[in-house]
Symmetry: C2
């Protein structure tokens, strides 16, 4: 370890206590991501208890020119939250900052520290008869600060937007250790540049989110969930258009699942059964919700019956109870888990225009066919957002060789359709170089200028999102 790191460690220990500066085996969980896709090596891990400690640590990092890697629940998918392999980066874990600071159901907001687990934010809202709408597969582990830093998406984006749309106020520690407190709960505030936007989705490279004030919604009091089978992705897209036209924003989720994905879930996830007796090529999971207590099911059934008469789907089931509803969601949310029992899952996350989804699936089918039994394509996800997780299942021993090739081929097709190679997961280190040629040069220049303006010494998550030469 170099002298700067030694000095940083000594001062950090004095600041936050020896118990919260950890290394060796204690640091190991912070060096590999939750999905075990990426691994790094930390000099050590600091675990501050509050914003003042974060600020103190950042000041020390600035003083000693030590790189900090902010980390929440460590469930990120793009190698943006664990240290690089040098052993010179320090992980700053926000997990101890897990307090809910305020819940105001009348004002429709809550304020939480960055290390609160997403599911706990949801529960706090629910306890106050409110809804915090962000919902995604990792919600039992991911932390709200990470959700903010990566502008998380999930299954309710169609109705409630992404994380960015749910943030009213932020508290951020800047690269010089100053605390930018923008925690107001106001829905409308046009007094100058909306600075919080800079930090949402910037993956800890421009500042460290330490707390947030988040919007709550009126809770859904009646929810109706359908599982419909269709013959083709085209039919799924058409079904979305027709459903959206009738139901509008009463649709909170509209998800696509393949036959392969359903079979994988039924085979590899304990207790999971098909919602429909017969297998079908494609399935959509539609969830509708409103704040009235009754009447949605009757209306929805009428509409769905009419769509069936019009041959817009070929078979379907309604969730008759919460257990059936959860089963449908388990299949959807368990896609990566189930297929990981079959092989290594090359996980992706792309957007194209909704109308182009069938074309994208077809092109991926075409290039995957060339791999024979070495690769299966598993498209699933938020078809209503134009966002598919176009995953590939490959033999574990060939993952290192095949993953980059599959990504490259997928990204070329996404480029051809003018889509995005990262809809929700972000850039991290994994896609840092891949975005360079895909974004306008003016955008890359401006991103680099923002990075050097906000973090001139390059101490905040260097190498993530954008490569900027550090002065340090």
């Amino acid at each position: 370890m170099n002298a700067h790191l030694d000095s940083f460690r000594t001062d950090a220990t004095a600041l936050i206590g020896e118990a919260y500066v950890v290394s060796g085996a204690d640091a190991a969980p912070f060096e590999v991501d939750f999905w075990k896709q990426y691994e790094g090596k930390a000099a050590f891990v600091v675990r501050p208890a509050n914003t003042l400690e974060v600020a103190g640590l950042v000041r020390l990092a600035a003083q000693y020119r030590v790189s900090l890697v902010p980390q929440g629940g460590n469930t990120g998918l793009v190698n943006g939250g664990i240290p690089d392999g040098t052993g010179n980066e320090v992980v700053l874990s926000l997990q101890r900052m897990n307090h809910i600071l305020a819940v105001d159901p009348a004002g429709d907001y809550l304020t939480v520290e960055a290390g609160v687990i997403l599911a706990d934010v949801q529960k706090a809202a629910e306890a106050a008869d409110r809804l915090f709408p962000l919902s995604l597969g990792a919600e039992g582990s991911c932390r709200i600060g990470g959700n903010i830093a990566t502008n998380a998406g999930g299954v309710n984006v169609l109705r409630y937007g992404m994380m960015r749309d749910l943030v009213l106020g932020l508290e951020v520690v800047l690269s010089d250790g100053s605390i930018l407190n923008l925690l107001k709960p106001l829905r409308k505030d046009n007094t100058g540049y909306d600075l919080k936007q800079l930090f949402i989705g910037s993956e800890g490279t421009l500042g460290i989110v330490t707390a947030a004030t988040l919007r709550l919604a009126a809770p859904a009091r009646e929810r109706v969930t359908f599982w419909l089978a269709v013959a083709t992705p085209e039919a799924a897209v058409e079904l979305f258009r027709h459903s959206r036209g009738v139901f509008g924003d009463l649709i909170s989720s509209f998800e696509l699942i393949s036959s392969y994905g359903v079979e994988a879930a039924c085979t590899h996830l304990p207790g999971v059964r098909r919602p429909l007796a017969q297998p079908y090529p494609w399935h959509v999971l539609i969830e509708l919700a409103w704040t009235f207590t009754t009447g949605l099911r009757e209306r929805a059934e009428q509409v769905i019956a009419k769509l069936f008469e019009e041959d817009r789907f070929i078979d379907g089931a309604i969730a008759e109870n919460e257990a059936q509803r959860l089963m449908m969601w388990r299949i959807r949310e368990g896609q990566s888990e189930a297929t990981s029992k079959i092989g290594y899952v090359v996980r992706s996350d792309v957007t194209v225009a909704i109308a182009d989804i069938p074309e994208l699936i077809q092109r991926c089918d075409a290039f995957t066919a060339d791999y024979g039994s070495d690769a299966a394509v598993l498209p699933f996800g938020h078809i209503g957002d134009g966002n598919l997780h176009m995953n590939f299942v490959v033999p574990r021993e060939k993952a290192k060789e095949l993953a980059p090739r599959l990504f490259e081929q997928l990204f070329v097709e996404v480029d051809n359709l003018k889509g995005s190679i990262s809809a929700e997961h972000g850039v991290g280190r994994a896609k840092r170089d891949a975005i360079v040629s895909r974004k306008p040069p003016e955008a890359m220049v401006l991103m680099a200028r923002l990075k050097t303006t906000l973090d001139p010494d390059g101490i905040l998550n260097p190498g993530v999102v954008v490569a900027v030469p550090t002065k340090g």
Copy 2:
């Protein structure tokens, strides 16, 4: 005129044609805002036809160190879109850039040039059986570029968010004349910093918005509008809470109007009549909408009847037809116009927590009482957003003297309630100094750093939002 301005004019004329570089009487409409609150003096006005011409003009401005004031519909309320009094600033009007470039009802978006009038964007969406939800009093005159530059609000924010929430992509000319094209129509795109956020709400000080891709929503097919009378602002806030709990996001507007405001509208606006025969102290206009074609009225009437039984309001009317609905809205939207027939209207735009609205009104009543017949307070607006236009009507001849005192007293009360002195209107020059002491010092420092990073020579709308010494 100084030599730099002469050279700029010569080159600008060569670039965009003599007919579009105007001064003298032709420039006059660009030197005073639509509401005739502020007046400046332009060196001249340039009226580019397209983005390339804007880019060329900005390059010339950078070369000759000439200050540009971007201007859309010129309906801004905070002196942010007209030149200062020096005669050295050049107005860059976007009004000729008024083309709708694409409408995609299936993809739920449209792409427009910055100079398109908001009402024309709404019409283009409607023609494609879609809804563009931004709606505000000036919609017949304001331009979409100005709406973006000021992050406009309006009467549908409760349901659809502010302008920021409706922007999918932007095209911006930066201070060096480069064109940043971020016009993708994707709902989700986490490939790096979300650069468009920098320009939304930055009032033309960081770049000039030249085009935008905007989100469309499913159109409301049934709409129900109520006009309810309540005794106090407290009752209005309680009514909002109860309505919101039952209707959730089916409420698109929830607006407060005072007795004084209703009487002013009935007296001074041609053809306007009271929705309720009797006068009442306070009124709320509630609009509900959904995408089904029938059934909302029956459900809404049941809920409203129950709220009446519970004494949550004292009298009410439902709009039986479009004419009645438009009459209700005419009263709401005509508040400033009607009261301007009585005296000079000191217009404000503040947010507090919704629960604090009654307290704010009471405090404003208290300090206004000291002015005797010299000032009447006229609170109205988006109570569901915590956002009131707390206007004051004063004798025209005393406006210059009284306006600053009233603003100062209002702002102090807003500060005490931890609110915002500009909910939707922005900062401009009018509130530039007032925000300095009200924002965290770290925020002011960061705003100044963003300004110098994005516009190092200070040529874009200098003196607006944030005062930064120019190098030029």
